[in-house]
């Protein structure tokens, strides 16, 4: 039986990777993937706790997160395509028309 702490450390590492990628990457696709990474890091800790405490609520939360993430991916990718079509770049620093 793998101890709970292993799962949590892995979950932390995944989340930290996601945050780092989100902060330092400029490509919008990579940022998007980093967000997915953070979500899945959190998902991992949810299921780990659910297994540890023998409670189903954690797993149900994971389903919710996955559903939201799927919806987000659909909408997000659509936006990305639209952005690419109009601006011909995926660099977020250049998508700054609304900036003062």
């Amino acid at each position: 039986m793998v101890p709970l702490s292993y799962y949590l450390v892995l979950s932390g590492i995944l989340f930290a990777c996601g945050v780092t990628g989100f902060l330092i990457k400029r490509n919008i696709i990579t940022i998007f993937m980093s967000i997915e990474l953070m979500l899945n890091g959190v998902n991992l800790s949810f299921v780990a706790f659910a297994a540890h405490w023998h409670a189903l609520s954690g797993q149900i939360f994971v389903f919710f997160v996955m559903v939201v993430a799927a919806a987000e991916a659909a909408v997000g990718l659509a936006i990305i395509i639209a952005v690419y079509r109009t601006r011909e770049t995926l660099n977020v620093d250049k998508v700054n028309l609304l900036k003062l």
């Binding site: 902060l23 620093d93 900036k99």
Partner: protein, 656 residues
């Protein structure tokens, strides 16, 4: 059973006239405005005459209570009107002279673009003045007192586009505030010690008190503070400075407010409070001293003035001083008598001066007049009557009243009499000086007159010196007749009369003079009084003679005298530098203090600085924090991550 007189109608009529002209006058033609003003003012006069006809059947004093005004535990002030012989005399003077001056104003102000505004203010003044004299308590009197001050301010500054007029209005208002302050304190003292402001109640509580013989006491304090109020309104030393400047107003205003009615409110108020003053000999002395000083002081200034209205203004101040001498000698009926005759002849003189100014196209400098006698005969003759009346030459009105005052003053203290006599001489001198300068000799103005576009509203072309229209002359003539016969109501017994006026007012002033001047008058006999009368007539004739010598016989002499007098002449000519002294002593320090401490120190330094400082502070804080909101999405995410890290570290290390 006294019938209900409905006295309230009288002031309300004047107010209605003011309201109609004030709200709708702009759309009315001049004829309608004049009609409304005259109708309501005339109706007030008619109502006063109706009261006069019922007068003998009245049981006086008569009180008419409309409704309670202020009520709380044991203290009550009503809206109420009060009629006794004193307020009856004032009522007739104010409505009568007021109506005549309204008539005159129609002619005088006809060309003024703000015709309706003038009559609105004039009617408003009538309302407040009538409230003042018909009040049955000090508070209602105070309302009228302040109201006439307001009307006076509005009318002095009537031509407010002229700087000097606007500042003269402000000066009058501010100087009057000082007097009102004293009046108010006196009212507070009365409330505190007598628990009422109604005349009859206060006086019935004061009456049993013994005269405050020694120095100070409550009644003395009240009396002196009331006198401070009277000094402001009636232009006595040290608060007289506003009245000469008030001549910036239209001439009918000078006649009505600053000669005949409003400025006599102080005399009326002191006479009304005679019960208090009689029991405070100290306060009476103060009144008399202020009166004598003012009478002499203002008269000497009057000698050197060259502006025809300024001469009359200083003369008014001086004559008001006479009235206060009378009050100070506890001869209140003599003071009111002089008030009445003064209203006639000074109103006449001002209107006459207005007619002269009108005739020469707005010129007020007497040195540029002269020789007007034959050109404006009606004005000449009426002004002549007024001049003789004020100089105190029998049998004109001023003679009787002034003689009465001098006689009563002598009984109180011979110093008052002596100063009064000297003043009578000076009065006669400067009045005849004005008369000679204006009407005799050669005409020294610009030939043919000029189209005067200035402040006096005579915008139309003047075809040379011309007589005023009938609407201006009729009031002059009526006032002239009153100036001739007005004195006969008070012919003293020494001259074979029976002094009806004093007897008429006796119920009001019963007991007046018995404490102070009473003993002397018992012993004084009629031959002494006749001798005094002879002296004052002689003095008046001397003044006439001197004026004739200096200004008609040898017109180059005054300049030589002025040159030889040097600095003294300059001091008098510059009104003893009183305005300058006040400016240096009070106005400049106040202005400096207000500028540097209140304006730049408190207002800008504390209040503005606090508000500005908080605004600047908020902006500076926002300025520095604003950089966090860069619009860079990843920096936001970084802040979120950093915040989350802080929370986690806190939970791990501290929160466990």
């Amino acid at each position: 059973m006294t019938p209900n007189l409905h006295l309230w109608i009288i002031p309300v009529l004047a107010l209605t006239g003011a309201a109609i002209n004030g709200f709708f006058g702009k759309k009315f033609s001049r004829q309608v405005v004049a009609g409304v003003a005259l109708a309501f003012c005339g109706a007030a006069f008619a109502k006063a005459l109706v009261v006069a006809m019922q007068f003998s059947s009245l049981s006086l004093p008569y009180t008419e209570t409309l409704s309670p005004w202020i009520q709380f535990s044991g203290f009550q002030v009503d809206f109420a009107f009060y009629l006794d012989q004193l307020s009856f005399v004032m009522l007739l003077i104010v409505t009568g002279v007021g109506f005549l001056i309204h008539v005159y104003s129609v002619g005088y102000m006809w060309d003024d673009p703000s015709f309706y505004r003038f009559f609105t203010y004039l009617n408003l003044f009538m309302f407040f003045m009538l409230t003042l004299i018909l009040a049955n308590n000090y508070l209602q009197m105070f309302i009228g007192w302040e109201g006439v001050g307001l009307a006076s301010y509005l009318l002095i500054g009537f031509w407010f586009t002229k700087d000097s007029a606007a500042s003269a209005g402000k000066k009058a208002f501010i100087v009057n505030r000082i007097g009102d302050f004293g009046f108010l304190i006196a009212l507070f003292l009365i409330i505190q010690h007598f628990g009422s402001l109604t005349f009859t109640e206060v006086f019935s509580k004061v009456a049993p008190l013994a005269p405050e013989t020694a120095s100070a006491g409550l009644l003395t304090a009240i009396g002196i503070l009331l006198m401070v109020g009277a000094c402001g309104k009636s232009a006595q030393i040290p608060l007289y400075v506003w009245l000469p400047d008030a001549m910036e107003g239209p001439t009918p205003v000078s006649a009505l407010i600053h000669a005949a009615t409003m400025v006599t409110a102080g005399v009326y108020m002191v006479s009304r409070s005679h019960v208090i003053f009689e029991r405070a000999p100290m306060a009476l002395t103060v009144v008399a001293i202020i009166g004598t000083l003012t009478a002499l002081f203002a008269a000497t200034i009057g000698i050197t003035q060259t502006d025809i209205k300024k001469v009359l203004a200083y003369s008014t101040v001086s004559q008001l001083g006479y009235m206060f001498i009378a009050c100070g000698a506890a001869a209140f009926s003599a003071g009111i008598f002089h008030l009445m005759t003064h209203a006639f002849f000074k109103g006449l003189l001002f209107l006459g001066a207005g007619s002269v100014i009108h005739a020469v196209g707005g010129e007020q400098d007497m040195r540029k007049m002269g020789g007007l006698r034959s050109k404006i005969p009606w004005t000449f003759w009426t002004v002549t009557i007024g001049t003789i009346a004020i100089a105190g030459i029998p049998p004109f009105a001023g003679f009787f009243s002034k003689d009465e005052i001098l006689w009563k003053a002598y009984q109180a203290n011979w110093v008052y009499w002596l100063v009064g006599l000297v003043t009578a001489f000076i009065t006669s001198f400067y009045m005849f000086r004005m008369w000679f300068l204006t009407f005799f000799g050669e005409y020294k103005g610009e030939a043919g007159g000029h189209d005067h576009q200035g402040s006096h509203g005579h915008g139309h072309g003047h075809g040379g010196v011309h007589e005023s229209p009938m609407v201006m002359l009729v009031p002059l003539i009526i006032l002239a007749v009153l100036s001739i016969v007005g004195g006969f109501v008070g012919v003293p017994e020494a001259l074979g009369g029976s002094n009806h006026f004093e007897k008429f007012l006796e119920p009001v002033f019963s007991g007046a003079g018995t404490e102070v001047a009473g003993e002397l008058s018992q012993h004084a006999n009629h031959s002494t009084e006749l001798a005094f009368t002879g002296i004052s007539v002689l003095v008046a004739l001397c003044g006439l003679g001197l004026a004739w010598l200096l200004y008609l016989k040898k017109p180059q002499l005054p300049q030589r005298i002025a040159d030889s007098m040097g600095s003294l002449y300059r001091a008098v000519f510059n009104k003893y530098y009183v305005d300058e002294i006040y400016a240096a002593l009070f106005v400049k320090p106040l202005l400096l203090g207000s500028t540097n401490i209140l304006w730049k120190g408190v207002d800008q330094g504390v209040i503005d600085a606090t508000l500005d400082g908080s605004a600047t502070g908020a902006r500076e804080v926002s300025d520095s924090v604003r950089h966090m909101q860069s619009g860079n999405l990843r920096s936001y995410a970084g802040w979120i991550a950093a915040g989350a890290a802080v929370v986690i570290i806190y939970m791990i290390w501290v929160g466990r």
